[in-house]
Symmetry: none
Subunit: 198 residues, 4 copies
């Protein structure tokens, strides 16, 4: 526990724990003390690494953003059939796995924080940009076959992201499992329609 470590190892470790505390207690509910207690280290040590809490929060968004991006590229779509690619994409975006692993914006309290902290906002915006670009790329691959027509891939991608964030938000309120699954199916249809009409 009290092993001497250096910044390179310790910092991501602290950030990971900080994030877990945020998920549990919200951004404003999370504190250096709680993170320190969880890690069984001294609160001063966290200050030692990040100078202050604000800094640590910005570094957290940075860190999460990098993880987010890696996740995108790992989600490979094997098929080459354009329609099937689209279907697979939609499926991924509505899968439980996706939401379990992309919870930064899902923890809406970080979003709220971003409205008050310009640095955090910028990094979050950048994260969405990257996400839109990824979808654009997919849409263009699908469109290149000629079978599917997408006039403005960027706009379509933005609509998809937007709709997905609505889904992420609203699905919490479906507790009945079958209703939840119905909602998920409807969501997938909606996304496909957005692409078809794009």
């Amino acid at each position: 526990m009290k092993k001497r470590q250096n910044a390179e190892l310790r910092k991501p470790d602290i950030l990971k724990n900080y994030y877990q505390v945020i998920l549990k207690e919200g951004v404003e509910g999370a504190s250096i003390a709680k993170v320190a207690k969880k890690m069984k280290i001294n609160p001063s040590l966290i200050i030692h690494y990040f100078a202050n809490k604000d800094n640590m929060t910005v570094e957290l968004v940075d860190y999460m953003s990098r993880i987010y991006n890696r996740l995108f590229s790992d989600m490979i779509i094997e098929t080459t059939d354009p329609q099937k690619r689209i279907d697979r994409l939609v499926e991924i975006f509505c899968s439980d796995e996706w939401y379990l692993n992309t919870d930064i914006s899902g923890d809406f309290s970080i979003l709220t924080l971003s409205f008050r902290n310009k640095k955090v906002f910028k990094h979050l915006q950048n994260m969405y940009d990257e996400f839109v670009k990824l979808i654009v790329r997919e849409l263009e691959i699908a469109a290149s076959s000629g079978k599917i027509k997408i006039d403005n891939p960027k706009r379509t991608a933005e609509l998809i992201v937007s709709t997905l964030e609505g889904y992420r938000h609203f699905k919490h309120f479906f507790i009945d499992e079958s209703a939840s699954e119905n909602y998920r199916q409807d969501m997938m249809k909606t996304l496909k329609n957005i692409i078809k009409n794009g």
Copy 2:
């Protein structure tokens, strides 16, 4: 300052101020003391009215819910033509006015709180229920003409609410005004498609 008031007048006044503090500082960042200072009253007076902070938060959600409903009923749709009614409905939901006045869920930190506070969750869920019902009623009026067909109005309404929350969420990241307007237009098309396909 020391004006005598009663619960009927004071409570909504406190809630209004509480909400403003939340928007500024986030749910966990908002404190009874800050609300009191803003109102130039004593913090214990707030406790006098709401017993504790949790209670106050729950009452806030309810209060906002009532405002939500009133706002909706005030936005009268004059026309009787079914298609025009739908168009008007979509227009309302994508108007700036709407988002300026229905920002409870828009302040995502309340959402976060709801994941940790069952009472808040229940009341928020109830608020969405009411909203879905309002839309269902509109859809049924439109459908009753026979010109428009909606198989499952509740599902359609849920998709609308979900998509709107995504819009509310995501539109913050459009800073360029023309891009923002384009996004709004796309959003309206998407909503109309959802209804058409419902």
Copy 3:
């Protein structure tokens, strides 16, 4: 509940509830608010009757003292045999019933309070005086037969009271029931010896 009452009825009612709260929460832990809540009346009403908390506490000691005295006179010793009278007296003082009903000083927090509040002290002192007098009377009755010799009944009575308060104090720490009973038996022997040697 909200029946209109007058001071004569209401005051003892409040004092009774105040005392119960003290037993539960200690003198300093007891508050007007808690008493009011228990009685489902408004805290201001208590102030209305007693002007302030200090006053109420003094009136409580008064009230309890009266009850104490009444209890003394109710404990009749039927026998006339001097030794049996003494035995019966000792038995009474070591009975559970006695401690259940004379808990004013038993609630040691009132005692503590008395060290800081002269009024309370005086009334408590008076209560002990009355108690000593009662025992003196009993000792004199027993001694008048000639069979038992008590040189200084007042001193003996004081020793008895003192020893009894030690018993009241210490018996709480005997949890094992048989140990507790043994301790009680020893106590009774000790008291009898005090009288014999008096």
Copy 4:
């Protein structure tokens, strides 16, 4: 004021001050803030050392217990004559010095607290246990000579402690000095009788 200290020095210092505040204001009347003010330190420093008030109270009982024990071992009984040892023991227990230095249980408000706080109760119980053991040891030394017979040293010790606590309790009500001294003398006789009859 801002002298740097460590736990070893600071904790007993805080406990000493806490105890003095308790004597002045009662257990429930004593507050962290009052202790801090008395010591001219910041209230949160007290929390830093004891985590919370409950803990501090428990540690106080332990601390007083240690002082109790030390006090007893410091009061050396020089003689080896068994009867004189007993006399000296009784003298110590009825000395002013003893009560000035062992006032934990004498502050009856801690006792009251112990009825509501199981931890405090346990630690107080433990303190009495230790005290009883110390007396038992003395009684056994005295008995080993053969001149004095004590059947059940533990029971006798318990009776002594109990009687002493009654003395501690009741002597407050003797204001007249000569009456007080007479009472003390009677008390000593009583204790000796208890031992003789043990």
